[in-house]
């Protein structure tokens, strides 16, 4: 980091819980206030937030930039699609379990190779390995449906399916929305504990200074491996939640530019903050949707946004907001 270290987070746990509860309540009320389309967008945002939260355990807390997180997202999504296609599973809970198992397996395999390296080599390795999965999903037509992808019908939530004749949009904006919200809250809570646990401290220590971390007795690779695993599983869960929302999965979500989008979201929100990835994911989802509606050159728009972010606001939305907030407070006091 080029910027001077900022003051650490010193807010009291009670205040954090209150804030989180307030935000959760707002999110819970949204489907009743917003039109269905907006609710669906928020649901997409929350799903991506889980993925980016996982991703950021590596980038923000372990200092490892993965350019291959599309792989674990895709594994989660395809795990669900395979369970539908081959096992006729309908239960969302089983989907999530399956996605956790599948993404843990793949992440363990990839992690075994990748955590031996850091910096650019880590990024390149994660990217290259993720593209192996992309090519498999893409070419194994008879298993994966190739570019046509696999459809996933409406799942059963806690054993309850969509009522016959019920409106799918209503299902998505209410039943499924709350399911996503619940999983999201659980994931945020878990990740909060992870990054504030002794393990989380160890990761940050390794990020700051690998040599010294070794000399306080940390087995650096083992820690990176576990972080990689957790990160991948979170992203896999997001993939599983994403499929029913989207209705189908195609190799597009395994292609490397999707990994780039995940990185984009983290940077947009600010990867040195716990909340940055969440904000980044939700905002990016809006940004992209409206950029596409606004101009055919939406890619250029996003590209320029990214370059400006990196050049001018490397701490992202949350980092910048905090800075401004701190400055304003200093001025008033």
């Amino acid at each position: 980091m080029t910027s001077a270290p900022a003051a650490p987070e010193t807010r009291s746990p009670l205040r954090i819980v209150l804030w989180a509860a307030a935000i959760a309540v707002v999110l819970a009320v949204l489907p009743w206030v917003l039109d269905p389309y907006q609710s669906i967008l928020i649901a997409y945002g929350l799903v991506m937030a889980i993925a980016v939260l996982g991703f950021n355990l590596l980038l923000g807390y372990s200092g490892l930039l993965s350019f291959g997180h599309s792989a674990y997202f895709g594994v989660g999504a395809y795990a669900v699609a395979f369970m539908v296609k081959y096992l006729r599973v309908e239960s969302m809970e089983l989907f999530i379990l399956g996605a956790v198992a599948a993404s843990a397996l793949v992440t363990a395999l990839f992690g075994y190779v990748c955590v031996r390296y850091t910096r650019i080599f880590f990024s390149i390795l994660t990217l290259a390995l993720s593209q192996v999965l992309w090519s498999l999903a893409f070419k194994f037509f008879w298993v994966t449906g190739g570019t046509d992808g696999l459809r996933v019908p409406t799942p059963k939530l806690l054993g309850v399916g969509m009522a016959e004749g019920d409106d799918k949009i209503r299902f998505l904006t209410h039943g499924y929305y709350y399911y996503v919200l619940a999983v999201f809250i659980a994931c945020v809570a878990v990740m909060w504990v992870v990054v504030h646990s002794p393990f989380g401290k160890a990761l940050q220590a390794i990020r700051d200074n690998e040599t010294r971390a070794r000399f306080v007795g940390l087995r650096v690779r083992a820690y990176r491996f576990v972080a990689f695993l957790l990160s991948g599983v979170f992203t896999g869960i997001a993939g599983a939640l994403w499929v029913p929302l989207n209705g189908l999965t195609t190799p597009d979500i395994l292609y490397w530019p999707f990994s780039g989008e995940i990185v984009f979201m983290a940077v947009l929100g600010g990867f040195r903050n716990f909340t940055g990835p969440i904000v980044g994911a939700v905002v990016f989802n809006y940004l992209k949707t409206y950029a596409i509606g606004f101009t055919v050159y939406w890619q250029a728009l996003l590209g320029i946004t990214l370059m400006v972010l990196v050049l001018v606001l490397p701490t992202g939305i949350v980092g910048t907001a905090r800075l401004l907030w701190a400055r304003a407070r200093r001025r008033t006091s």
Binding site: M1, A7, A202, Q204, A205, F215, V216, G217, V226
Partner: protein, 250 residues
């Protein structure tokens, strides 16, 4: 019984004999100063023993147990800790976190990803206490990247000390700080080492400090041990004077 013993420990860097068949021993409770001119092999010797670099040949025995090829974390479990000549800290963590991390690591708690670190009050108390011992208590919640060099040197030692080692290597604990600050730093460190009866090896250049704080002095020259003895003996040793301080030295 010797706490640590090396046998014909050797490390080459290309053609340079950084450490050349060194037999180095240190007894329980000793405070030894390791001296020698730049490039004499002092830091390399410490790097070999602490596990930063692997030796080319020779053995390292800790209480007669062979640790030559053990991984760093095993050596730390066995009680070997070190500080660094060029300060090695977790700059984006607070002072308290820096020390607490050692405590967590020592207690094998860093693998806990399911409990909040803040919940382990005993660890934080201990970390606070250690910071207090090193006179850093007031800056506990400052980021390590944002304190003065002298304080960083102390913190570096505190991080190593928090591992509760039996054998502590201090690689130039006062390098890079002003002469005026050196003695206070050494006073703090020395008080802790002596009171906790830690066996320590100090690499140092400042002769005043060496003579004041060490029980024994080991002199290295061109990768080999030239002499070993009490401060008085070393002071009188002519070979040492020539090799270490140069012939022109007084």
């Amino acid at each position: 019984m010797n706490l640590l013993e090396t046998r014909a420990l050797t490390k080459y860097f290309g053609d340079t004999h950084a450490v050349d068949r060194v037999d180095f021993t240190i007894g329980e409770g000793e405070v030894v100063a390791l001296i020698g001119s730049n490039g004499a092999g002092k830091t390399t010797l410490v790097n070999l023993i602490s596990g930063l670099v692997p030796p080319d040949s020779g053995r390292i025995l800790l209480r007669d147990a062979d640790v030559t090829h053990q991984r760093v974390h095993r050596r730390i479990e066995a009680g070997i800790a070190r500080s660094f000549q060029i300060v090695n800290l977790f700059d984006e963590l607070t002072l308290l976190d820096n020390v607490a991390l050692s405590v967590f690591a020592r207690e094998k708690m860093t693998r806990y990803f399911w409990t909040l670190a803040d919940r382990h009050a005993a660890v934080w108390e201990e970390a606070h206490a250690i910071l207090g011992q090193f006179g850093l208590g007031e800056k506990a919640s400052t980021l390590a990247g944002g304190i003065a060099q002298g304080e960083r040197k102390l913190l570096d030692v505190a991080v190593a000390y928090a591992l509760r080692p039996r054998l502590l290597f201090l690689d130039e604990p006062t390098s890079g700080v002003s002469t005026r600050e050196k003695a206070p730093i050494m006073d703090v460190i020395s008080a802790i080492v002596r009171s906790q009866k830690i066996t320590a090896v100090v690499i140092e250049h400042d002769m005043d400090i060496i003579f004041k704080y060490s029980d024994r002095i080991v002199v290295m020259h061109q990768g080999a041990i030239l002499a070993s003895g009490s401060p008085e003996e070393i002071r009188r040793n002519e070979t040492v004077k020539d090799a270490v301080f140069g012939p022109s030295h007084a």
